[in-house]
Every structure is written in C-alpha cells, then in structure tokens.
C-alpha cells in the first residue's frame, strides 16, 4: 500500500466515519435519555435517502403513508391509555401532537411536492417526513415498557428493526437508489483529490455536533434532557417529564440520522435494508465512546469508518467480519474501563 492509496483510503474512511458519527451521536442521545439502544437509527437514515430519491424522481415517497399509519396507531394507543387513566381532558392535546401534527407534515409535503420544488426544499421535505417516525415508534413501542431493563429494551429494539426492514421493502421497494451529489465542487488537498461531497459530510458532522453541544449546554430543554439521562426519578421530581424528554431526544436523533442519510445517498447506493449496517457500525462507534460521551462516539465512529475503509481495501468480502470482530475487544475494554454497579436481572 502506497502513501497515496493510504491517503485516499483515509479520506474515504473519514467521510464514511462522519456519516456514522451523526448516527452514533443520535444513538448516544437516545440511550442516555431513554436507555433504549435504538438499533433502527440506521433504518431511519436509509429511509431518508430513499425518501429523497423518491422526491427527486417526482414520486411521493412511501414515507408519507408510513407516517400516516404510525400516527394513527400512536393516536389510538394514546387515546386508549388516556381513557383508561381517566384523563380525557388531555385528549385534544394528544390528538394534536400524535395525529394532527404528523398528518399536517405529510399534507404539507404532498402539496409542496406538486410545485416541483428545488433541491433545497426537497431536502427539507425529506427531513420533515422522516423526523416524526422515531417519536411515533417511541410512543407505540417503547413507552409501554419504558421502565423495563436495558436488555428488554434492546431485544424490542432489535425486533423493531426487523419490522422496519419489512416495512421499508413494502413502502420503498427493492430497488437501490443513489441521489445526485449535493455539490460538484472538488479540490486538491495535499496531492489527493477531495470531493465537495466529502467536505460537506465532514462539515455537516462538525456543525451538528456543535449545535448539539450548544443545545445541551445553553438551553433549558437541553439541560432537562441531560437531567433525565442522569436520573429519571430525580428529574421527574423536578417537574421534567421523561416521556417528553424522550420524544425530544427521538426528534433530534432522527434529525441527525436523516442528515446522515441525505449525505450518504450520493456516495453509496442505498437499499431498503442498508440501514442495519449503518446503524450497527455507528453503534460500534458509540460503544467506543462508552455510550455516554458525544465526542467519544463521534471519534469512535470516525475510527470505524477509517477501519472499514482500510479493511475493504484488504478484503472487500470480509470487511464486515473484520469490523464486527473488532467490536468484541472494544466491548471488553469498555466493560473493564467502566465501573458497574451490580445489577440484578429482572425475574
């Protein structure tokens, strides 16, 4: 391997890693606030790419139908649980958030679609369509078992991923998509050609990590999210609703996953099931950061991207085997490095 090839692989790896980093930060965000290891984040990213591709092709994306179905389901569950709890006065609010708002988003997207909007608007539309999915899934799937063990939540999360892959095939079809690059700009950097897309990816990762940092440190909502992450009961006593904090975390997280999906779509062909590997690799990065640190997760994810890039140069067939085998030593290191309080397993 010459230094030229190494440089190309390195830059390629950093670009891939930056995409993983966005998903990894979302994963950490959800985990710290809700204790859910949200495996389907990769699917959210892949769905965004598929949505954008459909919009580019002037088709209304399947995401719309998916959001409508999930919104109806979530509303139904919310109504049942409110009626059971005898809190009927909260019904209008629930109808607004779980039904009217998602439907309005889909409706808006549908109307805008007909005007054949420019790329920037299509990007916003794709993100708008994708962000309700994770919070709605949270309401349907995770809220009823919010107090379960991490393991239970993880098992449910893995099952949810499989459901989403099936839905993805149903709503987007089996064809892979590749969207047009967001920019055709490219430049030479230390003798290696760097495309504008790569720079955009890295830039987006940096900007969003920075924004998240500002959000957490300088806004009350951000602080309430951090409080929930540290102690659910304690923050509840301080008037923070963990469920609401969870919803915000899912919204933010799926926004990050959506951005990463948009960024990766012009670089890699995305299929309905591409999300799993994106999600898992991001997740490997998140584990490197101990599942609690955002910079750690970002650095870990970039590391995974670089590793994958070099591994695929050595043996493209075995690159995934290499990446996932590497997770085990990392897990051991993390497990040794973090102090655990003994936790009895639920009977």
């Amino acid at each position: 391997m010459t230094s030229d090839i190494a440089a190309i692989l390195g830059i390629d790896g950093i670009a891939t890693g930056a995409v993983y980093a966005l998903v990894a930060i979302g994963t950490v965000l959800i985990f710290t606030v809700t204790r859910v290891i949200f495996i389907p984040f990769g699917d959210i990213a892949a769905f965004t790419a598929l949505t954008l591709a459909a919009l580019d092709a002037k088709r209304f994306p399947g995401t719309g139908a998916l959001v409508v179905i999930l919104a109806c389901l979530a509303t139904l569950i919310e109504i049942i649980s409110l009626v059971r709890a005898g809190e009927i006065r909260l019904l209008p609010r629930a109808l607004f958030f779980y039904l009217a708002l998602p439907l309005a988003v889909v409706g808006l997207a549908w109307l805008t679609m007909r005007a054949e909007p420019p790329l920037a608007v299509r990007l916003v539309l794709a993100l708008m369509l994708i962000t309700p999915i994770a919070p709605l899934l949270d309401r349907i799937v995770f809220r009823p078992i919010a107090d379960g063990t991490v393991l239970l939540l993880l098992t449910v999360s893995v099952a949810l991923h499989y459901a989403l892959v099936g839905l993805g095939l149903l709503f987007f079809g089996p064809e892979g998509v590749r969207t047009e690059p967001l920019t055709s700009f490219s430049t030479e950097f230390a003798g290696v050609l760097v495309s504008g897309q790569t720079m955009l990816i890295v830039l987006a990762a940096l900007v969003f990590s920075g924004l998240l940092y500002l959000f957490f440190d300088f806004t009350l909502v951000g602080k309430s999210l951090r409080a929930t992450a540290v102690n659910r009961t304690g923050s509840r006593l301080m008037g923070i609703r963990p469920a609401r904090a969870g919803t915000i975390a899912y919204l933010l997280g799926s926004l990050m996953a959506g951005v990463s999906g948009i960024l990766i779509a012009p670089v890699n062909t995305v299929f309905y099931d591409s999300g799993f590997l994106i999600g898992l690799k991001a997740f490997v990065g998140a584990i490197v950061g101990g599942m609690t640190s955002y910079p750690g997760a970002a650095i870990g994810a970039v590391g995974v991207g670089i590793l994958e890039s070099f591994a695929s140069f050595e043996s493209s067939a075995l690159k995934d085997v290499i990446v996932f085998s590497l997770l085990i030593p990392i897990l051991i290191w993390r497990s040794l490095a973090s102090l655990h309080s003994e936790e009895e397993i639920e009977e």
Partner: protein, 589 residues
C-alpha cells in the same frame, strides 16, 4: 398432583409424539421436524437466557458452524455424517468456549451486544469463505444412516429428532435439579451472591454458554442432514433473534417452554405465510417479517413471562415429600474455641482521594460474637467488603485461619469457611426455601455436569436435601420447606439467608447489618437465633449500626469512625466511652 402424575403426563406426551407420524400428513411431519430442530436451540437459550440471564442474539451462528462442519465432512469430503456430528459438536463447543472465555466477563447489555457482534461476524463468514460454497451453499449432503438404514424421508428422521429432543429435556431437567443447575439458577442473582456461595460465577456462565452452544450444534447437524442442503440464510442474525423469540414466547427459564415456543413460532410463521397473501397480494414476504416482529414486540410488552409459566399457574402444584434423613455431609475441621480466627492488620482502602478504611486492625477469636459498629459513613461496609473479597484493600493484610486472604477472590474466601449474608437480602425469590439453603452447600459437595444430568448424584443430593432441611429447622423455618423464598416477609428472608450461610458449614459467619429494616419482634428473634448459634461455638462477625441490638448480644465491639478505629472493648466499656458517645451523639450528652 404427585411426582407420579407428572411422570404419567410425560409418558403420555412421549407416546403422543411417537404415534404422530402414523397419523399426521407428510407436510405436518416435516413441520414437526422443524419444530424439533428449532426446539433444541430454544432449549439451549432457555438455559442460557432464561436461567442464566445471558441474552444471546447469536445462537444461529452456532447452528451454522455445526451445519457447515458436518456438510464439509460428509458432502465435500465423503465421510460419514456421524463423523460430521463429532466434528461439528467439537468445533462448535470449542468456538463457544473461546468466545465465552473472551466475552462472558462483560457486564449486562455489553455481553448481549457482543453476541450481536460475533453472531453477525460468523454469519457473514459463511457466505464469504471460498471452500464453503459462498452464497450458493453446499448441496447433496448425505442423509444420516443408522447401520445400513438411511433416514431419508421426513417420517424417518422424525424419530431421531424427537428422540434427541426428549433426551435433552430429560437430561436438562435433571441438570437443573442438581448442584450445578442450582448454581446456574443463582446466576441471575448477581455475581456477588454467586461468589459468596463459593461458586466461581465465570465458570458456571462458561459451562452454561457451552451447553447452549452444544444444543445448537445438535440442531445444526440435524438441520443439515434433514434438508440435505445448506446456505448462509438460515444462520444469519435474523434467525438468531427468532430463536431468542422462541425461547421467550415459550417462557424463558422453562426448558419445556423452548419446545412450546418453537412450536408456536413455527406454526404461526407457517400460518402467516398461508394467510397473509389473502390480505395483501404480492407483498406477503415483506409483511411476514413485519407481522412477526410486531407480534414479538406485543408479546414483550404484554406477556413477558411466556406461555409455560402462564399455564403452570393454573395447574395443580406438584406435592413434594419432605426430605428423608440421609448420611450427613462431611464437616470441616472447626477451630478450637478461643483460637485466633481472623486477623485484620493495618487495612486501608481508598476510593480516589477518600480513605474509606484507614489503618484498621482487629482480631476475631473463635467462638465469640464481635460487632463492628460506627455511625453512617464510618467505613463499616467497605471493611465488610474487604473481608469478604468484594473489594481489595490497598494496604495491610487480612489473615483467616492462619492463611492470608488479602488477594483472594470472593469464592475462594467463601470456600475457606467465611459465609456471609447481605444488607439488601439476596435470595432467589423463585426458588423454594429448601433450594435456597441447598445453594449454600455448593462448596461442600462435588457432583459435576454429567453426574447431575445422568442422576449419578443421588446419594449426595439426599445428603444435601437433608442438610438443608436441618438448617431450616435450626433457624426455625422448617415448616414449609417448599414455599418460595420471595413469599417470606423480610425478617424471615434475613433468617433464611443465615440458614443458607450455615449450610456452608462456615468457620466464620459474617452478617451485614442483619437488623436493618426489621421490626422489634423480628430483631428479638434474630438475636435469640444468633445466641443459640454462639452456644454451638460458631464465630460471628456482625457489621451493624443498631446499638441496642448489638449491646445485648455481642462479646466485643470494634467502633469505627471516619474510616479509623476509634476503640475496641466489651459492650459496657464501649457504652461509657466518651469518644463513642461523641461520635454517635456529636458531643457528650
């Protein structure tokens, strides 16, 4: 319902299954074969996940290793499938042992995530290795032959599959009811509990892990020779979660639940395949996985217990006989009264900058009750954890019965004769009083895996049961030995912990705040029990902050304050010591 009824029911089930091929259609028999093959993996997961608390998403990889191994031996190299069985089982167990050695020390969800990792890695490997047919798989795998009789049709291999399932169930239930099985059932109580019983928790986890992999390898062998063709598909991560689902649907922790879960999931999947096309034409394949995952999620939300435990609640309870008298277990050589038993010399333990225990020295002599007391934050619990091996001291030495135990693991200290109880009671709530106490005898007994599975341990088991009943009677809980431990009130749970500790035949009994949370009457009963133990020449060390409880009970007291030893002496002297009064009351009253 007596034991006889249970046996009759089991025989009836075996007869039904044996007669099934003569009644059912060939398609149903094939379905039954798949159920049997999946059951084996699900039974392994019931042991690993349900009993041992280790959630594995990667069992499909083990099935795949064995299937590919036997296919390689029989189809590609032309040897007998039986050689394939040996090779597949040995290879799978070796891989499992290595993976287990590396990953089983991981905690909680880290461990489960590692199963996702190696499950995926091994799954990818099948499709990418040159010699294993890549994604085309391996075809023309020969059938299994018994003598010259080849098991070609599905009704022939049926008997082999279900014979293996029945044998596995029988051996599995035997195992769970043995010394090793009880240790496995204790794993969910956490490492500290398991180690405090003199059990090497890591070893038990490894054994459980390898057993589960072994069952998966049997399944893989049968699968390869039944379908006669293998490809990477049935061994990927998706199948791994399906196996997990089977064991959870049936009732994690119940071996029979593995079979029931495999049956329910397989039949459900089959009917979903039948009926979905009626609802949505052309999209059935996609909807199948969606419907399936949705059902699983609903199940996890609403019925985590699983089918078998749910049904079992409505069945009459199995009546069990009280254990009969049996030859006693060998006892350890007890130290002579008055002899130096435990010596703590200059113990120091730091947490970062905080010195929790600072240069503490004291001695415990055989036959006495010594209390370590002190106000909150005095370092009592840290001292206690150092004594029992849960924490290491940074400086100083601890000698027990003439042997330094400063660097020993918890289970070694427990084996040496230090039995403990817990401030926050650690019992196995779903095990009976008797079984909880039987756990205590682990370090005194020897029956291993095979003795347990094949019931070669009956003489020792009888002694263990008898010993456990004796200890229950000794502490006054001998009336209902088959009651579940979780049903006892807190006071009795504390006493049950003492019975469990006594079953280990300890030289030193260490009690961590035994009076905490007890009502007055319960405290009096506890004090009375401890006095009666002292009259049996048992040495007791109590860590406690309840002055009243301690004063009337113990021979000597060591007072800790802010990590250092304040003073030491008889209760009366301690009571009048000004420094103690100041520590407790913040000044001489």
């Amino acid at each position: 319902m007596t034991r006889l009824h249970v046996q009759l029911a089991a025989i009836a089930a075996v007869v039904c299954i044996a007669l099934a091929p003569f009644v059912l259609s060939p398609f149903s028999i094939t379905l039954m074969n798949y159920i049997g093959i999946y059951s084996l993996v699900a039974i392994g997961l019931a042991l690993l996940t349900g009993v041992g608390g280790i959630v594995s998403f990667g069992q499909a990889a083990f099935v795949g290793i064995a299937a590919y191994a036997t296919a390689w031996v029989s189809a590609l190299n032309g040897y007998s499938p039986w050689l394939g069985l040996v090779f597949g089982v040995v290879l799978t167990c070796c891989v499992a042992a290595v993976l287990g050695l590396v990953t089983l020390r991981l905690q909680g969800h880290f461990l489960s995530l590692s199963t996702v990792a190696w499950g995926l890695a091994i799954g990818f490997l099948f499709g990418n290795v040159e010699g294993l047919g890549r994604f085309n798989g391996i075809s023309s795998i020969p059938p299994i032959s018994i003598g010259s009789f080849a098991l070609v049709s599905s009704s022939q291999i049926y008997f082999l599959i279900w014979g293996i399932v029945a044998a596995v169930l029988l051996l599995g239930y035997n195992l769970l009811d043995s010394r090793l099985g009880r240790a496995m059932r204790a794993l969910r109580g956490g490492n500290t509990l398991v180690e405090s019983l003199g059990i090497n928790a890591f070893r038990i986890k490894l054994v459980t892990f390898v057993i589960a992999a072994f069952l998966a390898s049997l399944s893989g062998w049968l699968y390869a020779h039944m379908s006669r063709f293998i490809s990477p598909g049935p061994f990927d991560a998706g199948m791994g979660i399906e196996y997990l689902m089977m064991s959870m649907v049936g009732g994690a922790g119940s071996l029979l639940g593995g079979v029931v879960g495999a049956a329910v999931v397989t039949l459900l999947k089959n009917s979903v395949q039948d009926y979905l096309p009626l609802i949505a034409k052309g999209a059935s394949g996609q909807l199948e996985i969606v419907a399936f995952s949705a059902l699983f999620i609903l199940f996890l939300q609403w019925a985590r217990q699983g089918i078998v435990p749910f049904v079992a609640r409505y069945l009459p309870k199995v009546r069990r006989e009280r254990p009969h008298p049996a030859p006693p277990l060998p006892r350890r050589a007890q130290p002579t009264p008055g002899e130096l038993l435990l010596k703590v010399d200059g113990a120091e333990r730091r947490f970062g900058g905080l010195v929790a225990v600072n240069n503490v020295s004291f001695e415990v002599r055989s036959g006495e009750i010594l209390a370590v007391i002190g106000p909150n934050g005095a370092g009592k619990s840290t001292m206690f954890n150092c004594l029992t091996g849960a924490l290491r001291v940074n400086k100083g030495e601890i000698v027990f019965a003439g042997r330094p135990i400063t660097r020993d693991a918890q289970s070694r200290i427990a084996k040496a004769g230090v039995a403990r109880t817990f401030q926050h009671v650690k019992l196995r709530p779903r095990m009976s009083l008797l079984e909880n106490v039987m756990l205590g005898t682990y370090a005194r007994t020897h029956a291993g895996l095979f003795a347990g599975a094949f019931r070669l341990n009956q003489r020792e088991e009888a002694s263990v049961r008898h010993e456990a009943l004796m200890q229950l009677e000794r502490v006054g809980l001998g009336e209902k030995p088959f009651e579940l431990a979780g049903n006892l009130p807190l006071g009795n749970q504390r006493i049950l912990e003492i019975a469990r500790a006594l079953a280990a035949d300890p030289a030193l009994l260490v009690l961590d705040e035994p009076a905490a949370g007890l009502r007055r009457q319960e405290k009096l009963r506890l004090a009375e029990l401890l006095r009666s133990l002292r009259s049996d020449h048992l040495t007791i060390l109590i860590v406690e902050h309840d002055m009243e409880f301690v004063m009337s009970l113990v021979d000597r007291i060591v007072v800790l304050d802010f990590g250092s030893k304040l003073c030491e002496g008889a209760p009366a002297a301690i009571r009048s010591d000004e420094r103690v009064q100041e520590a407790y009351l913040g000044g001489v009253a």
